[in-house]
């Protein structure tokens, strides 16, 4: 475990989580959630958990984002809070 990379990535993780829940535009929020998943995949590969890392990169950052955007296309893209 490379601790300086670990701390940097965990810091970005918290920033992305706070940004994803506080932005009013839902499309931006979903894209930030996708970036969050990708950073999480980097943290896991760096902690020697390679299989979980690439599953998260494919499923968490890929399919989840597609599902969210498909939902957004059928509903409204603006949040009140």
């Amino acid at each position: 475990m490379i601790w300086i990379l670990d701390i940097t990535m965990l810091f970005f993780l918290v920033v992305c989580a706070i940004a994803a829940i506080s932005i009013k535009d839902l499309l931006s929020s979903i894209i930030i959630l996708s970036a969050y998943s990708l950073i999480m995949a980097i943290v896991w590969v760096e902690m020697h958990s390679v299989d979980v890392g690439f599953t998260e990169a494919a499923v968490g950052a890929g399919i989840t984002t597609v599902l969210f955007i498909a939902t957004l296309a059928r509903t409204e893209g603006r949040s009140e809070d």
């Binding site: 475990m1 670990d6 701390i7 965990l10 993780l13 918290v14 989580a17 706070i18 994803a20 829940i21 839902l26 929020s29 979903i30 959630l33 969050y36 998943s37 999480m40 943290v43 896991w44 902690m47 020697h48 958990s49 390679v50 299989d51 979980v52 599953t55 998260e56 499923v59 968490g60 399919i63 989840t64 599902l67 969210f68 498909a70 939902t71 957004l72 059928r74 509903t75 409204e76 949040s79 009140e80 809070d81």
Partner: protein, 148 residues
């Protein structure tokens, strides 16, 4: 004093995991928008995954892939990280995606029915449709229902 600092430094992964979990929990409870609630649930789930993966990491360990396989000489002195939590989390990621898909399908259905994904708007529309749904209307009695 140095004992406390040692705990903070040595286990910073766990502090981050608790922080992320609380961010997700806050979004699930306090946000009115349904998609924001699902995003909060996703953050909550990945925080728990981070806890399990941090748990399985071993200092000086390498990825749990057999060294010296394929007929080569077996290396006995290699330290591997614990692969059991990895397998658990691999399953949990798939379950998380299924949960998200079901939640989003329900959100589309709710939007078709009520024309909004804001929780307070949906509750107001529901009170209008069924006055007995609201506790306030139930207390006011028949007069409120009769006026509808």
């Amino acid at each position: 004093m140095s004992g406390i600092l040692d705990i903070v430094y040595a286990e910073y992964n766990y502090w981050i995991y608790v922080t992320l979990m609380m961010i997700g929990f806050y979004a699930m409870i306090a946000k009115k928008n349904l998609i924001k609630k699902v995003i909060g649930a996703n953050i909550f789930q990945t925080a728990i995954f981070l806890f399990y993966i941090s748990l399985s990491d071993v200092t000086g360990g390498t990825a749990p892939i057999l060294m010296g396989g394929h007929g080569g000489e077996h290396a006995a002195d290699v330290i591997y990280t614990n692969p059991v939590p990895h397998v658990l989390i691999l399953t949990a990621i798939v379950v998380a995606v299924s949960t998200t898909a079901v939640a989003l399908a329900l959100i589309i259905r709710i939007y078709n029915e009520y024309g909004s994904i804001e929780e307070d708007v949906i509750l107001a529309a529901r009170r209008k449709l069924q006055p007995e749904f609201s506790e306030h209307a139930r207390q006011k009695g028949v007069a409120e229902v009769g006026r509808q």
